[in-house]
């Protein structure tokens, strides 16, 4: 294992400390229990937005703390959900009295820990709503699994719900728009190589030189199936087709197309994937009205990408365009 680290057990501590130093104009980092809050939190009269999850997905979630997006982010150990003793103080720190929305990716651990923290916060008199993100079409949604995972769609939920809170929407309205984004977004990912969790020291799965893993999540966990390597257009089709069919897109729909790198893929390759996906959507009469390309929700140094499509309406589009100023996303400011 070759990594730019000092001690596998200090990776999250040192990384979050550095993040706080780099973005001291935007965020305040609390080291123990660990959470990150917007510099000017709590913002008077505004609904607070808190998200969190395992570390290793940077810039998610800390990179999205700031104007127009999250009020707080709670980083757990690498690929491990944070604990209620972090989520609770983060929630209290951003509550202006207007209540707090928890944005939770649908993983057993995240759900259980946020549920506990929400109960504790409510016991302290803070109104909580939870938006569960489960956009991964690679997982069959049935009674017989833990349900679909939250992946790329999370970034879009955080941006659009964040803009709704910033313009002054109330607690129920912010949660409702978050749910609406989740209902209209689908994702699917591929890995060309695995990642190595620092404290494990070995790759989380093995792929032969000529193999790829289709339907991966963001925790280095294996995907649905393994196939021989193909070219970029072939892989793009394998990711995009199930997303389009699950969303039930039809001619005339307007979408946001988000091609996300898993951490170890150059931007040039992401644009090759974007090119094919945009061409295919255009062939189907779907208008790509907005786009996002880059490493926004990663899995350490994994090579690969995910494709996320969000069906837009006018309100979601205008909330997407609204000003945002965070360490990882900034426009209109």
């Amino acid at each position: 294992m070759k990594k730019l680290i000092n001690d596998p057990k200090a990776v999250v501590d040192e990384s979050v400390e550095g993040f706080g130093l780099a973005h001291a104009d935007l965020v305040t980092v609390f080291p123990d229990p660990k959470y990150i809050v917007r510099k000017d939190a709590p913002v008077a009269g505004k609904v607070g937005l808190v998200s969190g999850g395992g570390s290793g997905h940077e810039p998610l979630h800390g990179g999205y703390v700031g104007l127009g997006m999250l009020d707080a982010a709670v980083p757990g150990a690498v690929f491990t959900s944070p604990t209620p003793d972090q989520i609770l103080p983060a929630t209290l720190a951003v509550n202006s009295g207007a209540g707090v929305v928890h944005i939770v990716k649908n993983y057993t651990g995240d759900v259980l820990n946020f549920e506990t923290a929400a109960e504790l916060a409510q016991a302290e008199g803070v109104e909580i709503r939870t938006v569960l993100v489960n956009d991964d079409v690679a997982v069959q949604d049935s009674l017989y699994t833990a349900g679909r995972r939250g992946v790329g769609g999370t970034v879009l939920v955080e941006k659009i719900a964040g803009a709704a809170a910033e313009r002054g929407d109330n607690l129920d309205a912010v949660a409702a728009i978050g749910d609406r984004v989740n209902q209209n977004v689908r994702s699917m990912g591929v890995a060309l190589s695995a990642c190595t969790v620092p404290h494990a020291g070995v790759p989380s799965f093995e792929l032969e030189e000529n193999e790829i893993e289709i339907g991966i999540g963001i925790h280095g966990e294996p995907g649905r199936h393994r196939i021989p390597m193909e070219n970029a257009d072939g892989i793009t089709d394998r990711l995009l087709d199930p997303v389009v069919s699950d969303l039930g897109l039809s001619s005339g729909d307007q979408v946001l197309l988000f091609v996300n790198g898993m951490g170890g893929t150059p931007a040039s390759e992401l644009y090759i994937v974007y090119r094919r996906a945009a061409q295919k959507l255009a062939e189907q009469g779907v208008t790509v009205a907005r786009s996002l390309v880059g490493n926004y929700i990663t899995s350490l140094e994994m090579q690969g990408c995910s494709i996320t499509v969000l069906r837009l309406d006018d309100e979601m589009t205008s909330l997407w365009d609204a000003p945002v100023h965070t360490p990882a996303l900034r426009w209109g400011v």
């Binding site: 959900s81 820990n113 017989y144 969790v197 966990e221």
Partner: protein, 210 residues
């Protein structure tokens, strides 16, 4: 003779030792069907429990288990933190403030722990989770408590053996809960790491009576 706070502290100490010894094994079990964090999280959590025990020594077995519950819930994260936290909390409640736990109360506390895991995780037997270690363990414990001479050690040995067999029984199962469920058929042939850590904890409980 029943179980006192000395037993509870020995149990937690042996559990912490087991998590440290089996840290790598639990990570390896978690790697193919999870996300390689179970051994690390359990080791970190029980080390924190040891710190808490020395900071504020508990006076009853129930107090020791409650302190364990609160520490695991706040320090472990992932699914294991809330699940084990709930298990220890339910067991602590079942023990109440008794300072001398008999076999029947012990079996009831193990049952309460299992029921807490089921309620929290919404998993059933056969889903390839820690429930597959806990269910046979509480059944064996109840049988030993009902049949026996009130020997708490026999109850805990029966629970530990059944939990170990239960962990092995997860090998051919198709995961239906937790992160392994994303793999579908590919989860078959792997042992559930949560069932293994559960068996280690129950073996430690028996070991603490020696």
């Amino acid at each position: 003779m029943g179980l006192d706070v000395g037993w509870a502290v020995r149990w937690l100490t042996l559990s912490a030792q087991a998590m440290a010894e089996h840290r790598v094994e639990l990570i390896e079990l978690d790697r193919p069907i999870g996300d390689s964090d179970h051994g690390e999280n359990m080791d970190r959590g029980f080390k924190a429990v040891m710190d808490k025990l020395s900071e504020a020594p508990p006076e009853t077995p129930g107090a020791a288990l409650k302190l364990t519950a609160m520490t695991l819930m706040s320090k472990v994260g992932g699914a294991a933190g809330p699940l084990y936290g709930t298990a220890f909390l339910r067991a602590a409640t079942a023990l109440g403030d008794s300072s001398d736990v008999d076999a029947v109360t012990l079996a009831a506390a193990l049952q309460a722990a299992r029921d807490g895991i089921v309620v929290r995780g919404k998993a059933e037997s056969g889903d390839k989770t820690m429930v597959d270690a806990w269910t046979p363990a509480v059944e064996a414990a109840a049988a030993a408590a009902a049949a026996g001479d009130g020997d708490v050690r026999k109850v805990l040995l029966a629970a530990a053996e059944a939990a170990e067999a239960g962990a092995v029984s997860t090998d051919p199962m198709l995961a239906r809960k937790g992160r392994a469920s994303y793999l579908g058929e590919r989860s078959i042939g792997h042992r559930d790491p949560g069932a293994v850590s559960s068996a280690l904890i129950l073996r430690a409980a028996a070991g603490a009576t020696e």
